[in-house]
Symmetry: D2
Subunit: 389 residues, 4 copies
Amino acid sequence: MVAGAKTTAAGPIKYGMVGGGQGAFIGAVHRIAARMDGHFELVAGALSSQKTRALASAKELGLDPARSYGSYEEMAKAEAAREDGIEAVAIVTPNHMHFPIAAAFLKAGIHVICDKPLTSSLADAKKLVKLADASDRLFVLTHNYTGYPMIRQAREMIAKGKLGSLRVVRAEYAQDWLSEELEKTGQKQAAWRTDPKQSGDGGSIGDIGTHAYNLACFVTGAVCESLSADLDTFGKGRKLDDNAHVNLRFEKGLKGTLWCSQVAPGNENGLTLRVYGAKGGLEWSQENPNQLWYTPLGQPKQLITRGGAGSGDAAARMTRIPPGHPEGYLEGFANIYGEAALAIRAKRRKGGKLPKGAVFPTVHDGLKGMQFIDACVKSDKKNCAWVKL
Amino acid sequence: MVAGAKTTAAGPIKYGMVGGGQGAFIGAVHRIAARMDGHFELVAGALSSQKTRALASAKELGLDPARSYGSYEEMAKAEAAREDGIEAVAIVTPNHMHFPIAAAFLKAGIHVICDKPLTSSLADAKKLVKLADASDRLFVLTHNYTGYPMIRQAREMIAKGKLGSLRVVRAEYAQDWLSEELEKTGQKQAAWRTDPKQSGDGGSIGDIGTHAYNLACFVTGAVCESLSADLDTFGKGRKLDDNAHVNLRFEKGLKGTLWCSQVAPGNENGLTLRVYGAKGGLEWSQENPNQLWYTPLGQPKQLITRGGAGSGDAAARMTRIPPGHPEGYLEGFANIYGEAALAIRAKRRKGGKLPKGAVFPTVHDGLKGMQFIDACVKSDKKNCAWVKL
Amino acid sequence: MVAGAKTTAAGPIKYGMVGGGQGAFIGAVHRIAARMDGHFELVAGALSSQKTRALASAKELGLDPARSYGSYEEMAKAEAAREDGIEAVAIVTPNHMHFPIAAAFLKAGIHVICDKPLTSSLADAKKLVKLADASDRLFVLTHNYTGYPMIRQAREMIAKGKLGSLRVVRAEYAQDWLSEELEKTGQKQAAWRTDPKQSGDGGSIGDIGTHAYNLACFVTGAVCESLSADLDTFGKGRKLDDNAHVNLRFEKGLKGTLWCSQVAPGNENGLTLRVYGAKGGLEWSQENPNQLWYTPLGQPKQLITRGGAGSGDAAARMTRIPPGHPEGYLEGFANIYGEAALAIRAKRRKGGKLPKGAVFPTVHDGLKGMQFIDACVKSDKKNCAWVKL
Amino acid sequence: MVAGAKTTAAGPIKYGMVGGGQGAFIGAVHRIAARMDGHFELVAGALSSQKTRALASAKELGLDPARSYGSYEEMAKAEAAREDGIEAVAIVTPNHMHFPIAAAFLKAGIHVICDKPLTSSLADAKKLVKLADASDRLFVLTHNYTGYPMIRQAREMIAKGKLGSLRVVRAEYAQDWLSEELEKTGQKQAAWRTDPKQSGDGGSIGDIGTHAYNLACFVTGAVCESLSADLDTFGKGRKLDDNAHVNLRFEKGLKGTLWCSQVAPGNENGLTLRVYGAKGGLEWSQENPNQLWYTPLGQPKQLITRGGAGSGDAAARMTRIPPGHPEGYLEGFANIYGEAALAIRAKRRKGGKLPKGAVFPTVHDGLKGMQFIDACVKSDKKNCAWVKL
């Protein structure tokens, strides 16, 4: 029971949000995640690119009207100028806006917490990395699944050599909500996700494939060197992939596969990860995230539960309540915000350091995700040829 | 995606807490639940009966020192006197203190949100009901499992007659953390739960059995008329039950059983509910709370997921995020706080009413829980004779 | 991979069958079970009490017409007189006929393999025990679930003390096929099972409750001393119970509960067993019989699979194929026939003994089952008073 | 309850076996499968290529010594010459012997039931197809998993259009028994499976990959047009693949993936199949074969059980016992023998036809399996280039 504890004494970090107004989904998730452990307080926003919606959304959230902005540019400028200006901004717009917004706030001296994928193009991503690296501000990318306690547990076990040398990793992220052409109905979530102008070159590979890829890399700690991808577009008239089979080659002989799909009926958020090594195997499923299956070779399969027997320090850092009381998606998301809060507070101190074990996805992970999307598209165009990463 | 939305504009309700200081467990849960949707803000506390611990705990939580009190009496008095005094108090002490504290705050005109079981004796419970009924303040009992969306779904389906006339209900709540005599090690949670002075007459039946009983009643909507109980104490030297088998007879011929145990190795919080009627069956498990199994007689078993196909309005009211992204224990708990917030805000308005579907456990449910404990103890003493409720 | 091996060299044991003609269910199961490992060969039968059906059934099965009998009396007499007469008989009639048929064959010097429950009345059961004890012929009762490898595994682990002193055993056997009054449609299986004349005093408690009771006793190795039962008849106009909640008190403080139901929609053959002791817990479900969950207190839950790591000698004796290839109900049933074959062959040898570990349910287990039924009925009539066994 | 019924009147078909002596695994499985429903009787054998072992094995099985042969050539000749000679032969040797043995028996006018993969080389496979096509004898390949009732159910549902146009099929077959170099210990099963001389060019892809491939084709009814394969050999010094990732392109735009591995700790026989179409999805796992998950798009997921609600004719043909009593691997295997028996008996009749729905894998399916292996090896050598089938 460590997560969220003992830091509230310092008072919440004031932050603002860009995007996330009425009709959005992920913005609300960020707000709950930010609030859950008392680490953050929302005080400003440019909640929509449509001014009326932005203001209405701000009112709904109880924001000070003076700090409800009609554009992110205005917000960055105004907040930077205020003595009590925001210390961080959460960017939750469609992908193509991540870059200019992040750039504006970094330049304004404000920490950035940005949804994934990093940008809508690899070129933008590279620029953003340069900007972020040159800045002394933090860039936190919300690959939220890395915040699940049992994902931390899996990563720790692998790092400690419990699986021996790694051989095979299998990542899947399957959904079914785009089985029909939902975008034609005007549904906002479907519309921008299937629009190359807003999403970039990746459909399912950008929206969910990057999550699976990030998770495979995060848990195994391995570097992916090349990939081969077969992209499908089953929805009629759709311009981006809605299903993809990707083969991955990591360093040291680790082989991987990744399947992402938004057209697989019966799957809601079927994000699963399986890792096999010479000495053991691990299996995890996002829809039942408090459990991790561990098989030491030659022994019975074990069920390691969050906070239960066999669960170690890395998971404990991410845990609020005892085993058997499930923590879920929002808690995992809040853990990323918790790590961000630790990092922001460390930044305040001269020479401040992150506590042991603290880790969060950065702009560099975001770049890897963009390279993944880019390589998938290239490989697919060459009939699944291997493409270096 | 309804829960937690659209009410934050009004600003959070200021509340205080009694109990829940360092070393406590459920206090932290209440605080997260209260905070999650932005409905409540903690501004005062008497966080421990030990003054030093109370103050240290308050400091840790960032409370204004002026509103960190050394006793609940002092706190009730002082907060009632303040213009910006708390509107509600959360009581999270051991059971025997619920009554005097609740009484003090009700008298001070402050809404009460109280952990369960209601009190440590049936006599206290009856007095408290009178007090609460006579007061115009709210009394919310945190039988938190009633806040799970799929529990609301089950309740709704039964109320709509999907199962036909009810025949059998099976409730279980199994844990294993008291398999050994943990209380002898000084562990605080185990110590007070096995101490009749602090817990009252019920051990496992009070701590977890009341949850299972409450859930069975809440979901079936049926009134339990009598019970027969066989209580066990397997821990050596333990004074209260740590395992119980209870048979229940409800009105209209519904038969039930309830098993609670804190000595069943392999069970963390194995709270499950199964209900069978002439036309169908339902099965639910707390450790995987986003799923509800429904079998219409003569058809294949169906998996209804929170927010997914087949999931209705009652569940939707309790839901934040789309299906496949699990919500957990804290969200369920926060839903009780959400209902409490609705009720408190309704109270503010002249003739204010709760929105359709809003429901929360009250002092009367608490009384039923105490009657359950009392009847279990009586029945056990008479070799499991049937005792009326 | 032991079961069924190495004994076929001796050639199959010739056996006959009483009951099990057209329209029957369990007869076909016995025939497959008898044949599966080559231990038995069906050569004679009185397959129905209706002569025409008996002959038609025999023809269908390819029996020698000379050995297809119109009555069991005739069969017992004729087979006893033949030099190549049957060595064993399988009795698969409705319950009320078990006694006279078994008596006739035992008297004729023929081993008896009889379906459960033993008889339709306790009085008959007692007589049959006397007869069987006085005979030098074998009496094998097909409590087939004891033939499942992982049930043997559970029994072995408990006998070796892996769970420490036993505290709680939970047995369930839930079905839904009698949720409506199927017997009114003329369905043969439903008709005789709900008819006291053919079934005796027990409905669900006789048909499936005895299985659950037998399994609880077999696995724990504990003696049940008394019980309290609450019987229900939900089907309209039904004369026997179709649902029962039974509390059990075993020696040495072990407490048990048993639930059997034939009116629980969503349950096909939901026979489950859970055993908890001071040091660990075990959980098993008949519908996935190749798995056994084992939790050593304070360690992660383990999945022991038939033939896999952690699976021991007792299970291995009952196993044909490697782990991961499921064995099912028929294999478990065949294991009882395998044990019977071992016993019959041992009988042929002077001073022949069963191999180590061989065990099968006998007439004495059958008597215990009848005492269980009798006690349930008595307890229920006395409003669930405790009745000694 | 159809499988195995009503045909025993005709008496069993006499058959012989080549291979399957002491130390073998699959031979015993074939014998149980052949015997289970009374369709076949083993009367002859050349049970090992080592004469002493062959005779000892025959003795153990109770074969007539006159019909226990030292070689398959001798056996084919002698049995063809006997008036009561075998009508069929089961070939259960290592792969490289399938071709000459099958050829010998077909030439001798004896039906062949052969284990998979068909041969050890594609060239042999093509020759065998010619031979078998030219013969009027039957050639049954025991791709046993096609005998599982719920696999038939899945196939029927897809054929009826329940999933709409197919989009994605995911087949997996994962084991862990070769995680270490078991072949170095002299274990017979591991030794021949990792030896190219006995197995051919395929390691895991031949041993288990062909099963998964066959199942994907059987269930979807789709023709695979090309594949891309990445083969791995993780075991040190091993000459054949022990892990493979294969991408499949079927006609009509259906995309597939296949993973087979014998080095994935925690997997015993993890054969799973998932099929997704425009209107629904199906999921099945061999380790729990009595269940089939079906999701009609936009409706709750359904659990279809063997013999239960929603289970149709194709499954019923393969079913012996009611739902909830699991049938397993041996029953599925016996179903192939059941289909073979129907076909053999139909052959006896002039113009005899198979009953409606009867279907079994043939030499042509075997050829497809060999083409699969061959294409996998070719693709792997070309760095996973697409290879036509």
